[in-house]
Amino acid sequence: MSKPVDRSTTGEPMTLSFGPQHPATHGTLRIVLELDGETVLKATPHLGYLHTGFEKLGEHLDYNQYIVVTDRMNYLSPLSNNFGYALAVEKLFGMELPKRGQYVRVIMAELSRIADHLIWLGTSALDLGAFSVFLYGFQQREKLYKIFEDTTGARLTTSYTRVGGLLRDLYPGFENDVRSFIRDFPKKLKEIHTLLTKNRIWMDRTKDVGQISSEYAINYGYTGPCLRATGVDRDLRKIEPYSSYDEFDFDVPVGSNGDAYDRYLVRMEEMIQSCRIVTQALDNLPDGPINVESHKISLPSKQETYGHIEGLIHHFKIIMDGHGIQPPVGEIYCATESPNGELGFYIVSDGSGTAYRVRVRPPSFFHFQAFDHLIRGGMVSDVVAVLGSLNIIAGELDR
């Protein structure tokens, strides 16, 4: 979007502060726009309004406590963050979950991908004036959040994973609930397709808006749907399969144009593919334990804790301050395909119960960085469309 701007016909450029309390920013971030009439000459993003010191906290909380912090990173899909962090610590230990644990994690991560995309869809369409899509999307999301609540006990602050396992196994009616959601969901998504995909206004507002070429996208560190919309086929679930993703058959949707419309199409198709993965995982869901069989890492059952002295000792060793779970010395970078892109955790361990350094690689940070590149030369009304299409989450942006 870098059309040359003829400034000779107009007067002085005007500065407009977009945010931090603008409803379309979906979180607290600010963009200082330099405008010539309605044309954007320059956009300077300002961030840090939601800086919470997550990385500093990681050096002071033990490995299981930090899972609570990961909920707050991308607050639209906390389950994916829980998953990514637990996976990183497990990689540090060099262990793998039993199959059932892996499958349950995949199911929850894919459901949370659908939930994340639905919120993105609803709010970004709402920004462009499509109110019904917002309601349609949130109706479906509500069903998912009901499932999350029944499984984890919370709608948003799920904290579902533990290092070496999960908080608890699925509840008895889980499969029914998910299957009935998956049965209905494609129909509902089709309704949204009829509302938006060929809609003249939607196409005018999003086609060729916020365009980025694949070269620039790679140079700016794009990942996830935003990168795939430019035509680059890169999905960590395919190229670095983790947690048994290689056992599922699914396609990776790829766009071609790299504009807001392609990002929309890619995300819409990803929801369908997530449904496929969840269906396969439910069909083949193995029985057995969900946690690793090591009481140095995962808590013993309550019967064991109260009935046997070994169980009590293991429980004490994991819970008490200064004991905890202690991974070997070393460092690890572990990336997962979160709904927004590559969510990486870089953990340096000094062998004690708390990490020496926790670095989070948030996908939104990279998407937002290229914002000036995306919007320069566009119209001021496109700012909202582009920002919506990127799905910037301030929680993971500022950490």
Binding site: L57, Y220, G330, Y333, E342
Partner: protein, 185 residues
């Protein structure tokens, strides 16, 4: 773990091609190569860091074209690492990924407090811009040749560098400075 290590000593598998190539070109500047848990790290002298990263990116066969992440670590509480790298307190860590082969590589560059400046890689990757600003913000490391080096997450008038190990989790900082509209509090 111990079994793997003894195996490695006996068999001595050849070094990965990228390490061979780096050794060929920058033999004096390669300090350590660590292959741990299937992740390859190479510690590079600060003088050559830009050239090494440029080579890794531009070389046709390697083409580590994707800069995944740049971050830093304050090693002041890890005695053995400090001793190994001549009491260089910080390490700037680059995570690279090659799209073609999907290989990952970690490049670590020790930065000592005496010479607190490292060459910026914004000329190679646009994505490094904010990442280096964040390191400057959190650790105070300067980046030579960075187009716009200022604080990013913390306010512009903030003092101190929060991710340094000597910066406490709580007890010092901006809270005391707010007087909530009252004078001399």
């Amino acid at each position: 773990m111990s079994e793997e290590q003894t195996d490695a000593e006996v068999v001595e598998p050849p070094e990965p091609i990228v390490i061979q190539q780096l050794r060929e070109r920058f033999s004096d500047h390669i300090l350590t190569v660590i292959d741990q848990r299937g992740e390859l790290s190479v510690v590079v002298d600060k003088d050559a860091s830009f050239q090494v990263l440029e080579f890794l990116k531009v070389d046709f066969n390697l083409s580590y074209d994707f800069l995944v992440d740049v971050t830093a670590i304050d090693y002041s509480q890890m005695e053995d690492v400090l001793i190994e790298y001549g009491y260089a307190r910080y390490m700037v860590v680059y995570h690279l990924n090659a799209f073609l082969t999907n290989e990952r590589l970690r490049v670590k560059v020790p930065v000592s407090e005496k010479d607190f400046t490292i060459k910026s890689v914004v000329a190679l990757w646009n994505s490094a811009n904010w990442l280096e600003r964040e390191i400057y913000d959190m650790f105070g490391i300067n980046f030579d040749g960075h187009p716009d080096l200022r604080r990013i997450l913390m306010p512009d008038d903030f003092e101190g560098f929060p991710l340094r190990k000597d910066y406490p989790l709580r007890g010092r900082g901006e809270r005391e400075k707010f007087n909530f509209g009252r004078e001399n509090v």
